[in-house]
């Protein structure tokens, strides 16, 4: 994920997906699209509209470019959704804001636990196993594996 949205020329249509707080990074590209009189659509995201987004993205035609700016807590879900639908990394740009955290997959009960980026250990909030955070990462869960703590 880069810090600034970059305008990609020559696309059939541009989709901007953001909530009310997340317009900051996308505004310059949006102005460009408007200036060039290119086809575009805004999807005003909210947690309630998450499921409708899947339907909305599924209906788009080839050549559509997707810009997303959302809180980190929502961003990965949308990334996975777009990937599942068929948007490639060349057809998307993602920007996160807000509190940044990582998910830890509990090796015993499979629960996903929230942790700070630098955190090395935690207790699973579901099964209460003490976990050591590893660097083994799953793209599917967007999470790092938590092993049983040895200490």
């Amino acid at each position: 994920m880069s810090m600034d949205a970059v305008f990609i020329e020559g696309k059939r249509k541009y989709i901007f997906c953001s909530d009310e707080h997340g317009l900051r990074v996308l505004s310059s590209v949006f102005e460009n699209v408007k200036k060039e009189k290119l086809a575009y659509e805004w999807y005003h995201f909210s947690a309630e509209k998450r499921e409708c987004l899947e339907e909305f993205l599924s209906k788009q035609k080839m050549g559509t470019f997707l810009y997303v700016e959302l809180p980190y807590s929502e961003l990965h879900t949308v990334q996975m959704m777009a990937k599942r639908i068929g948007f490639s990394s060349d057809e998307t740009q993602y920007f996160g804001y807000g509190e940044k955290w990582i998910s830890i997959f509990c090796c015993r009960c499979h629960e996903l636990n929230r942790a700070e980026e630098q955190q090395t250990g935690l207790t699973c909030h579901q099964c209460e196993l003490k976990l050591e955070v590893s660097d083994h990462y799953s793209e599917l869960y967007h999470a790092f594996l938590g092993y049983p703590a040895t200490g």
């Binding site: 090796c107 196993l129 083994h136 990462y137 799953s138 793209e139 594996l145 049983p148």
Partner: protein, 318 residues
């Protein structure tokens, strides 16, 4: 579950006096992805209980793996029937198949390729008839992905976590695997695997206890035994765990079936073969720390070496 067969048939994994990670795959002499051993009935009952009690731990699949799963059903049934015609049979009338498992006295009728004709997914169904764990790796975008698997007897890893992962990500925790370029070499080897030319390899580790289901999820149940190993009880308590891993190209989906048959042998049984005893002692004495650590032996390596030394001394004084 201890080895109850003839020791001569145990898949002893070592050659030479040192061990390092390598691609030790060899072409298979008998191209069958399954083997039925004397503990078949016992292991099948155990496996079915695990699958029923812990489905999420023992079975995972992604929706696009169904066609590949049917390919696995086809190859496994073909191999069971060809290798053990007295125990397994198949009647086929177009897509209507009737599979008979005479050992378990079961008959199952289904329409091949039609998911709803089985009460579960195809891979789940067939895995209830073989001692092997079955892993389905799909090849796409110049990579291999773990898209489905039935895993009841893992050596300290989690199928639930690894589902959907690329080959290199799966092996990320193995120390030195990436640094020595082994992950890339083995990936390339697997992606060049040809239909009709299966390969096999043996993988080993040591474990305290004789559990087949050493999943990461249950580490707190079996891992603590490591601390109880002494030079006095190592012969009985510690087991060498050998996985016979077989690799078959599934041509229709251009994917790979990876079957794993796990065998356990107590050190006291291993020590009855003097050549094995001597060789294993040399290998363990020389084993690099990062491998010792990854294989989970570090807590009790000294106790095992002491036990093996004692056995060797006894042999020499005879």
């Amino acid at each position: 579950m201890k080895w109850t067969g003839d020791l001569a048939h145990f898949p002893y994994p070592f050659k030479g006096s040192t061990y390092r990670y390598s691609n030790n795959s060899i072409p298979m002499k008998q191209p069958y992805c399954i083997e039925v051993t004397s503990s078949y009935k016992k292991e099948m009952l155990f496996k079915r209980k695990l699958l029923s009690d812990h489905p999420e731990r023992c079975y995972q699949s992604l929706p696009h793996s169904i066609t590949g799963q049917w390919e696995i059903v086809e190859i496994v049934i073909d191999h069971l029937v060809s290798q053990y015609p007295q125990d397994f049979s198949i009647e086929q009338e177009n897509n209507r198949w009737i599979f008979t498992n005479k050992i378990l006295d079961e008959k199952k009728e289904f329409i091949f390729g039609e998911k709803n004709s089985l009460p579960c997914e195809p891979l789940f169904f067939i895995s209830q008839h073989v001692q092997e764990d079955l892993i389905y790796m799909r090849q796409r975008d110049d990579n291999l992905y773990l898209d489905a698997g039935q895993l009841c007897f893992p050596a300290n890893w989690s199928l639930a976590f690894n589902i959907g992962m690329k080959f290199k990500s799966i092996h990320h925790p193995i120390p030195g695997f990436k640094e020595e370029g082994l992950d890339q070499r083995i990936l390339q080897f697997l992606m060049r695997l040809e239909a009709g030319t299966p390969w096999e390899r043996l993988n080993w580790s040591l474990m305290a206890g004789d559990r087949l289901d050493t999943s990461l999820e249950t580490f707190n149940q079996w891992g603590r035994l490591r601390k109880q190993v002494t030079s006095e009880n190592a012969g009985e308590l510690v087991h060498i765990r050998v996985e016979v891993q077989k690799l078959f190209r599934l041509p229709r989906t251009n994917s790979i079936l990876f079957s794993i048959h796990t065998h356990l042998l107590a050190l006291e049984q291993l020590a009855t073969n003097i050549e094995w005893l001597q060789q294993f002692y040399e290998i363990l004495s020389e084993l690099p720390d990062h491998i010792v650590e990854y294989k989970g032996i570090s807590t009790y390596k000294k106790a095992v070496l002491k036990y093996l030394e004692k056995q060797l001394q006894q042999v020499k004084t005879l």
